[in-house]
């Protein structure tokens, strides 16, 4: 092997390591976009009918979204608020972020647990992008909350909703296993309800 070839391969190895390092980290939605002020997510006051914690999961979901263990404790202060309320005016693009437990248009059924509709953003005068809405719907299946036991085929609503709210705030998926924004989680694993360093880096880079 010639000296030139060894140097070239070494350089490529270093570049590959750097690129691999960048892959194994958070990704922001493209184009990069942020809210002007902390969004207030209206959490459907009807709750999720098959959560048997006595409250249909609405309070636990709301509390998980605003928890200091999640996005609001990442280091940028409060970045998201949540209020249990009515979602009767639910409509895409109306400027009111909502979590609708009833999926009024039937968008999320079958193997869909939750769908977050994004895409509502406009360009600011400085060239950055402003989010003005994002809405979440859930299917009516297989949910549990921390207030009840979780069977082997159920999914904690707290963890999934903290993940979905991450998208609502402008974050994509991470390749870091265990991160809230890692794109896979197993049943009865509420790990995503608590953000990890990679998630915190993502939110702190945005806000």
């Amino acid at each position: 092997m010639t000296k030139t070839r060894i140097i070239s391969l070494s350089a490529l190895f270093v570049i590959a390591c750097l690129v691999a390092g960048s892959v194994s980290a958070y990704v922001l939605l493209s184009p990069r976009r942020t809210w002007d002020s902390d969004p207030n997510v209206i959490v459907d006051n009807r709750g999720q009918a098959n959560i048997a914690d006595g409250d249909f999961g609405r309070s636990r979901t709301r509390n998980a979204i605003v928890s200091s263990a999640a996005w609001n404790g990442a280091g940028s202060g409060t970045v998201v608020n949540a209020t249990v309320g009515s979602v009767s005016s639910w409509r895409l693009g109306d400027g009111i972020p909502m979590l609708n437990f009833r999926d009024p248009q039937g968008a999320c059924s079958g193997n869909c647990l939750a769908a977050t509709f994004t895409g509502y953003y406009t360009r600011r005068s400085d060239g950055t992008y402003r989010i003005y809405d994002a809405d979440i719907v859930t299917s009516n299946r297989d949910w549990a909350s921390l207030g009840e036991s979780c069977s082997g085929s159920e999914f904690y609503i707290e963890g999934v909703m903290v993940h979905e709210v991450g998208h609502l705030l402008g974050i994509g998926h991470s390749n870091v296993g265990g991160a809230t924004m890692y794109p896979s989680v197993s049943a009865c694993n509420n790990g995503p309800a608590s953000t990890e360093a990679d998630d915190d880096n993502a939110i702190n880079s945005l806000y």
Binding site: V23, G93, F117, S184
Partner: protein
């Protein structure tokens, strides 16, 4: 050297892919078949996005010309609807939902029709693009994008589906259906 450059390029492309949202329970092929009335190979003829009658949601409808019915029965042209789309610049992103562009060839697992309109079973799990390699061999490439959050039952790790030669893929679909007691075509 050229191959290494290509690999590095792919790393960079993958690192900058735009991603979205939504959470789905993983579906294997047997589950897809169980939830499908038909499995078809076809070409997208036309795509149209519109507000649904309630005015709350943007939807997209694709007309797909069926080239081959792999399983079940389907008309020569199927109407497939999905959520999300672009209406006069109002864009609704719905990651993990099937997407269509005119001219695309694909294999679709179709859930039972309602009023002449089908949906893709399992969302992107039931959509496979048909692509050719340099030798002209056709592959069924899973449409499942990286923006999909996948949850698994019983703690099983999720393995993203891989591209398979199209003829092999169709054989596998028929064999899986046969094993589940579905003898057709």
């Amino acid at each position: 050297m050229k191959r290494l450059s290509t690999v590095l390029f792919l790393f960079v492309v993958l690192a900058t892919l735009p991603l979205g949202a939504s959470t789905f329970v993983a579906m294997d092929r047997a589950e897809l078949i169980a939830n499908s009335e038909a499995v078809v190979q076809g070409t997208v003829l036309k795509v149209n996005s519109f507000w649904d009658p309630s005015g709350r949601m943007v939807m997209t409808e694709a007309l797909v010309r069926v080239e081959e019915t792999i399983l079940g029965d389907a008309p020569s042209i199927v109407r497939v609807q999905t959520f999300g789309g672009n209406v006069d610049g109002f864009i609704v992103e719905a990651a993990g939902f099937p997407e269509f562009k005119a001219g695309q060839r694909m294999v679709l697992f179709l859930s039972p029709e309602k009023a002449g309109i089908a949906k893709v079973a399992g969302y992107q799990f039931g959509q496979f693009h048909i692509r050719k390699d340099k030798a002209g061999i056709e592959f069924a490439v899973p449409a499942l994008d990286l923006g999909v959050n996948v949850v698994t039952k019983n703690g099983r790790p999720f393995a993203r589906p891989q591209a398979v030669r199209l003829d092999t893929f169709k054989d596998q679909v028929r064999e899986t259906a046969r094993r589940s007691g579905r003898f057709e075509n």
